[in-house]
């Protein structure tokens, strides 16, 4: 009986992971692609650049935001390495964006799954690592602002982040 329940739980978890991957990884790819096209668009042609800008911003506020909402809900339950790799890759590829929501989501998933986030960050190249540490710093502070006392492991998380920041210098 317990074996059957165990197998069912494994199947359920695997299905969740597949759903999460299939729901949000294509969105991350599409957003990166649109942003890349925009960055490469002809700087001398304002009309063309604005057209590309509209495409990337519309996608960012609609589809990418929906994917971020799924990520923040699902990643805490099922910390999928592939999804995290893709998310970090999007953050790096879209450094040109002033949109704050992705940083906030990184901060939120750091609160529930700190070790997987730290492991990923430390594996990045120096330049990317420094950028992601700054993004995580902003996201974590945003996610915990005026709520520090409500987060039981706040001090531990903050200390780990401080160590990362010291290490980047």
């Amino acid at each position: 009986m317990y074996k059957i329940l165990g197998v069912l739980l494994l199947i359920f978890t695997a299905c969740q992971a597949v759903t999460l991957n299939s729901q949000i990884i294509p969105t991350f790819h599409k957003y990166k692609e649109l942003n890349s096209q925009f960055v490469k668009s002809t700087k001398d042609n304002q009309k063309e650049q604005n057209k590309e800008r509209e495409a990337v911003e519309t996608y960012m506020y609609d589809e990418y935001t929906k994917a971020l909402n799924i990520l923040k809900k699902e990643y805490c339950l099922n910390p999928n390495k592939d999804v995290l790799n893709e998310f970090i890759s999007v953050l790096i590829a879209t450094k040109n964006s002033a949109y704050e929501a992705p940083s906030l989501v990184l901060g939120e998933i750091y609160i529930c799954q700190p070790n997987s986030i730290l492991k990923n960050v430390t594996s990045l190249s120096k330049q990317n690592k420094n950028y992601i540490i700054d993004t995580l710093d902003f996201g974590f502070k945003s996610a915990t602002y005026n709520k520090e006392s409500k987060i039981t492991n706040y001090t531990e998380l903050n200390d780990k982040l401080k160590s990362l920041k010291i290490g980047k210098k």
Binding site: N35, F38, V39, K43, D44, Q46, Q49, N50, R53, V56, E57, M60, T94, N96, S97, A98, Y99, E100, A101, S103, L104, D134, F138, K141, S142, Y145, N146
Partner: protein
């Protein structure tokens, strides 16, 4: 001449005839590039609780006013919003004091209004 001005040195957003607001750009990323922007009047969101926490004022409601540079820039996602939650922005203009009055001002204009903003150093 632009309709409104944001000074990055004095951190003031001025809109003659409507008022001026203490505001910030950057702190968690580069401030918005200097130059003239189109204020996307038709794309202004509602003043609502259903908006990201960083865009909400003390009442828990917020808004986003998108800006499009009229010059070549690769920055995306720039706009004006209340400087909610953690102080500072990733490049947007975050209004610190009385952000609701700015919303009322922009909402009082025609959706077809041609509004521009000049960001100066």
């Amino acid at each position: 001449m632009a309709t409104m001005t944001f000074s990055k040195s004095t951190n003031v957003l001025s809109w003659p005839g409507f008022g001026s607001w203490s505001a910030v750009s950057g702190g968690w990323g580069d401030s918005l590039p200097s130059g003239i922007y189109t204020v996307e009047r038709r794309k202004v969101t509602e003043y609502t609780k259903s908006i990201g926490i960083g865009f909400q004022d003390k009442t828990g409601k917020g808004y986003f006013v998108p800006l499009t540079p009229q010059f070549s820039s690769i920055r995306t996602g720039i706009g004006i919003h209340p400087d909610g939650n953690l102080p500072g922005t990733k490049g947007c203009i975050g209004i610190r004091d009385n952000p609701e009055t700015f919303y009322r001002a922009i909402a009082s204009t025609s959706p077809a209004a041609n509004i521009t903003l000049q960001a100066i150093d």
